[in-house]
């Protein structure tokens, strides 16, 4: 009961204060490869996404100064992964700051406070501002500057496949094991039948509309002609 109340409170908080932000346009991002920019983790080790090829990667853009949403996201991902019990070498998570004013020290403090210390969890920054915005543009991640301390942002995780191609987004404040499992499954290229056909629903619907209109127009003419013919 207490747990349910906690979820409801988080949901209400999320909807009322932090559930805002501009959603990314997935039609522009899915299937593309983000730029191979340099990350530096909190230990000072530089790496690029190309170094992580061979395993699915989960990207989690956050900012260390966030008063709530980024904390809830990171903690829920940590909790969900513990529940899933997947081997650590099956994927990599990169939590990075989207705030150009934050550096390694802020992210190290964020990592320490929220115990994001799994072997496959990299907490990092993109030190070059141009490169940071190239990455944010590639993910179509847009944040709104409210004040020095507060930024509104979409709450999401991005799943890359083992070749570094964007395959899936999961949205929410409190991520569940099922969401992470789905994202990793899609990142491995294992789609359900619905996921395979869902992109075609709209063009098929438009074609259906056109075909129905054509049938009404020409079908009625044909029937009238038939009716005129002497029997």
């Amino acid at each position: 009961m207490r747990r349910l109340a906690g979820y409801l409170l988080s949901f209400a908080l999320g909807c009322s204060v932090f559930g805002q932000g501009i959603p990314p346009n997935l039609s522009k991002t899915i299937g593309t490869t983000p730029p191979d920019v340099k990350f530096v983790d909190t230990q000072g080790r530089a790496f690029r996404l190309s170094d992580l090829k061979g395993k699915p990667v989960i990207l989690s853009p956050v900012y260390a100064g966030c008063p709530s949403a980024c904390i809830v996201i990171s903690r829920s991902v940590k909790h969900a992964l513990e529940q899933l019990g997947l081997p650590e070498d099956a994927f990599i998570i990169v939590t990075f700051s989207f705030d150009p004013k934050e550096g390694r020290a802020e992210m190290a403090s964020f990592q320490k406070t929220h115990h994001l210390n799994a072997h496959n969890w990299r907490v990092a920054v993109i030190p070059d501002d141009q490169a940071l915005f190239q990455m944010l543009d590639a993910l179509d991640f847009r944040f709104t500057y409210v004040s020095e301390q507060v930024k509104d942002h979409p709450n999401l995780l991005v799943f890359l496949d083992s070749e570094g191609v964007i395959r899936h987004y999961e949205f929410g404040l409190e991520f569940t094991p099922a969401q992470l499992q789905r994202g990793l499954r899609i990142a491995r290229g294992e789609y359900t039948l619905w996921e395979r056909v869902s992109d075609w629903i709209f063009p098929l619907g438009a074609l259906g509309l056109l075909a129905t209109g054509t049938w009404i127009m020409f079908g009625s003419r044909h029937r009238r002609r038939q009716g005129r013919e002497p029997s």
Partner: protein, 148 residues
């Protein structure tokens, strides 16, 4: 079916298809940004221009009877090649926010924030006009983006 009805239907279908084609062209060919209404966004009372990154700006614009407040009055200056996020709201009634020579075409709605992004690749002056009749001083509502 009556001949007139049939023609009206054919015309209607053709127009729907044409508009659909134009929407697809705008989205794919012109890479038009879809304006977004953010009904739950934090409202702001005053305009401002914030440099959020290298050549990245955020403009909070407040429309009111009968002008635009963008922090530096009704004119903003940005460098060429800047990418600008426009957040527009209204302090009183419904206004419009159109930037000439761009695809920016937003409504300024009291109690809500509308958003779009535009990249200014060419230097020059871009006129901002209210294109939603808002009252007696509507024709005075104007502003300017100066790209240097």
């Amino acid at each position: 079916m009556d001949l007139f009805e049939k023609r009206a239907m054919a015309l209607g279908l053709s127009l729907v298809m044409m508009f659909f084609g134009l929407v697809v062209y705008a989205a794919k060919g012109l890479q038009a940004e879809l304006p977004t209404c953010l009904p739950n966004a934090r409202l702001f009372q005053n305009g401002r221009v914030v440099e959020v990154g290298p050549n990245r700006y955020q403009v909070d614009a407040v429309a009111f009877m009968w002008s635009f407040d963008m922090g530096q009055g009704n004119t903003i200056r940005i460098p060429r090649g800047a990418t600008v996020d426009f957040y527009v709201t209204s302090r009183d009634v419904m206004h419009g926010y159109h930037i000439d020579k761009t695809l920016v075409n937003l409504m300024a709605i009291p109690g809500a924030v509308t958003y779009t992004r535009v990249k200014f690749d060419r230097a020059g002056e871009y006129q901002i006009v209210c294109h939603e009749y808002c009252g007696l001083g509507h024709q005075n509502m104007a502003g300017k983006v100066i790209v240097e």
